[in-house]
């Protein structure tokens, strides 16, 4: 009992264009819906990517090694003395692009005018440049030159808040392992800018050996920040490193280190589906309505076809085919429009107009929309499947018409 495909295809196509205006309106609705779905998704993905990027720069790194008590009590006491040879070996993994062993302590920075709480980072500039600091972020002056560098690199916004300028001296104050106040003067040698003011106001960089001496802590570090090659899937080095660490130390990836970022990424994944469903629900009203009208307008010819001996299944497939054609054209145009409208935006959208709001959300000030083929496929499949389901109702009703009653309808 094969379907007379060519016959029902001709019928479906002609019936579709019987009422041009109605078909074009619903088609436009599908196109706009599909476009909006893909477009908004690309924006959302760009936003989340920006957030994760910023977040990873702030952490920094894709994973970090700490003393097992450090995250609960980030004081100098909970430091990393020396890694086992096995752990050292694990850090040599070719999938690890860079790592940086850093001292990280809360501190107070004071200028002649003001003081603020910051995180003092004692770094080895050679290591840090591949991890937490990017030389292109340097606004003026220089970055540190060695672990013994006595200079200090601060964020532009912090400089402003402290009402001081590059070249001036500031004092940093923290606690040593014996809970004694440790302080030292530094000269500001470099100013950096970051995606967010919060970042600029939070981190100050100094030579690692200088900070270790100031805190009287010996050659220990607070954390080892590690950068792999991509944040979504970290690779085998993480479990390998985890296995190589002694019980005193632990390694955590960025998701574990920043639950907010993990949530953001998970929201993105759910967002695709939610958006698809919302837009679809709106669409389906139009679609059901169109198909119901299309069916009841031709109730007599459907009756005629049934009376002539066409199977209900043939009627059903013909109307479903109409929906399928309509949806396919809409999806094709919608996807095309989405690609065309996103491509010119891929060099980035400047959000500085709403920079404050963006910053609050932890976003960068430039949004790079991300067009994922998977998002397009998923949106298209959702529209297609749910669209066919909503065509099914009128199609099914039409196929159940009593031929004589339908044929004699006026």
């Amino acid at each position: 009992m094969s379907l007379p495909l060519s016959a029902i295809t001709t019928l479906a196509w002609r019936n579709l264009w019987r009422n041009h205006r109605r078909t074009l309106i619903i088609l436009a609705a599908i196109v706009i819906g599909v476009w909006a779905m893909i477009f908004m998704n690309a924006m959302m993905r760009g936003m989340i990517d920006g957030m994760v990027d910023t977040g990873i720069t702030m952490l920094p790194g894709h994973a970090q090694v700490h003393h097992r008590d450090y995250l609960d009590d980030p004081s100098v006491v909970n430091s990393i003395a020396a890694l086992s040879p096995a752990a050292q070996q694990a850090l040599e993994n070719p999938d690890i692009e860079a790592w940086s062993a850093r001292v990280r302590v809360p501190a107070i920075i004071s200028s002649e005018r003001d003081n603020r709480g910051v995180i003092l980072l004692g770094v080895d500039p050679a290591q840090e440049l591949g991890v937490g600091f990017d030389s292109t972020d340097l606004l003026s002056g220089r970055f540190l030159e060695s672990v013994d560098d006595t200079g200090l690199v601060v964020g532009a916004s912090l400089l402003e808040k402290l009402e001081t300028v590059s070249g001036r001296r500031v004092v940093l104050m923290s606690q040593d392992p014996d809970n004694e106040v440790a302080e030292r003067g530094f000269r500001i040698v470099g100013v950096y800018e970051a995606d967010t003011d919060a970042q600029e106001e939070r981190f100050v960089y100094a030579g690692r050996a200088v900070v270790q001496a100031m805190l009287k802590m010996g050659p220990e570090v607070s954390e080892i920040a590690i950068v792999g090659n991509g944040y979504r899937d970290l690779g085998a080095w993480l479990p390998e490193l985890r296995a190589a660490l002694t019980a005193d130390y632990q390694v955590k990836d960025w998701r574990e280190l920043d639950g907010y970022l993990e949530m953001a990424v998970n929201i993105q994944d759910g967002f695709v589906v939610i958006l698809a469903v919302i837009i679809f629900v709106v669409l389906s009203f139009g679609l059901v309505n169109t198909m119901v009208m299309a069916v009841f307008e031709r109730i007599r010819e459907i009756g005629l076809m049934l009376a002539l001996g066409m199977r209900p299944a043939t009627i059903l497939s013909q109307i479903l085919l109409e929906g399928l054609i309509l949806l396919s054209i809409g999806l094709l145009l919608g996807n095309g429009l989405a690609v065309l409208s996103i491509l010119p935006l891929q060099s980035g959208i400047d959000l500085s107009g709403i920079a404050d709001a963006a910053e609050m959300a932890g976003m960068a000030t430039t949004l790079y929309p991300v067009l994922h083929i998977n998002d397009m496929l998923l949106s298209s499949v959702v529209v297609l499947v749910l669209g066919l389901l909503s065509t099914l109702l009128p199609a099914w009703r039409a196929s159940r018409f009593d031929p004589i009653t339908a044929l004699n309808k006026n």
């Binding site: 016959a7 005629l304 002539l308 066409m310």
Partner: protein, 236 residues
């Protein structure tokens, strides 16, 4: 062997509280190759009888056979299959699919029957020429006159050479000249292809063509006469 056989057919319709009699104990034997007229005033049950024979409407009681097939005992699917392959229909009011051309309307049933494309096209062209519509194959129903539409419907009904053609008031919308042409065509098809025709009508000009004339009133058969058809003599 009788081609169509009805025994004690009863059918009532209920409309609100009232019960309307459609068929009242109708029994009828129609031989293969007959050319038969169901006549009677409007509301006498002609359409109801045709629908019952064609398997479009189940009678309340009684039996209907077409050849060996017990129409009253068939499933919906079997009935659809029978209508598709064995019966040609010309309906009273509505016959053509508006989005299909004359040719496509005739081809459509064959397409559903699974007739190969080339064969289908040739047959449809030939039958349209036979009903006098050569050159109008590509017109949509809306571009044809009532008579031409009716002839497309007839072409569609007979193109697959069914055993039986059921025509309900086929001349209702036609002028007398076109009616005469259509009846001549029916007679010719009846004689050359031995197709059984059952024509419901209250048009006396149509009745004149029929060898056997059944008269119905209030769902009952009140007359069953054989007559000498005056067919071809009818002046145009």
């Amino acid at each position: 062997m009788a081609s169509v056989s009805c025994k004690d057919l009863c059918k009532t319709f209920s409309q609100g509280d009232t019960t309307i009699t459609g068929l009242d104990k109708v029994s009828l034997e129609i031989e293969r190759g007959s050319f038969l007229c169901l006549s009677g005033p409007s509301g006498s049950g002609k359409t109801t009888l045709l629908n019952a024979i064609g398997g479009l409407d189940q009678p309340d009681s009684g039996s209907i056979s077409i050849g060996e097939l017990r129409v009253d005992q068939m499933s919906k699917t079997e009935l659809a299959e029978m209508r598709l392959h064995s019966i040609g229909f010309v309906f009273q009011a509505y016959n053509l699919i508006p989005v299909l051309s004359a040719l496509e309307n005739v081809e459509f049933v064959m397409q559903v029957q699974g007739v190969p494309a080339g064969q289908r096209r040739d047959k449809a062209m030939a039958i349209l020429a036979e009903v006098g519509l050569a050159g109008m194959e590509q017109r949509l129903p809306a571009q044809l006159s009532g008579g031409q539409q009716q002839r497309v419907a007839v072409a569609r009904a007979i193109v697959s050479e069914p055993a039986l053609v059921l025509a309900d008031e086929p001349t209702a919308n036609l002028d007398s000249k076109t009616s005469a042409q259509l009846m001549d065509l029916f007679i010719e098809l009846n004689q050359t292809r031995n197709i059984t025709f059952i024509i419901a009508t209250h048009d006396t000009r149509v009745m004149a063509y029929c060898r056997r004339l059944i008269r119905m009133v209030d769902g009952q058969i009140v007359g069953d006469d054989l007559q000498e058809p005056a067919a071809a003599a009818e002046p145009s």
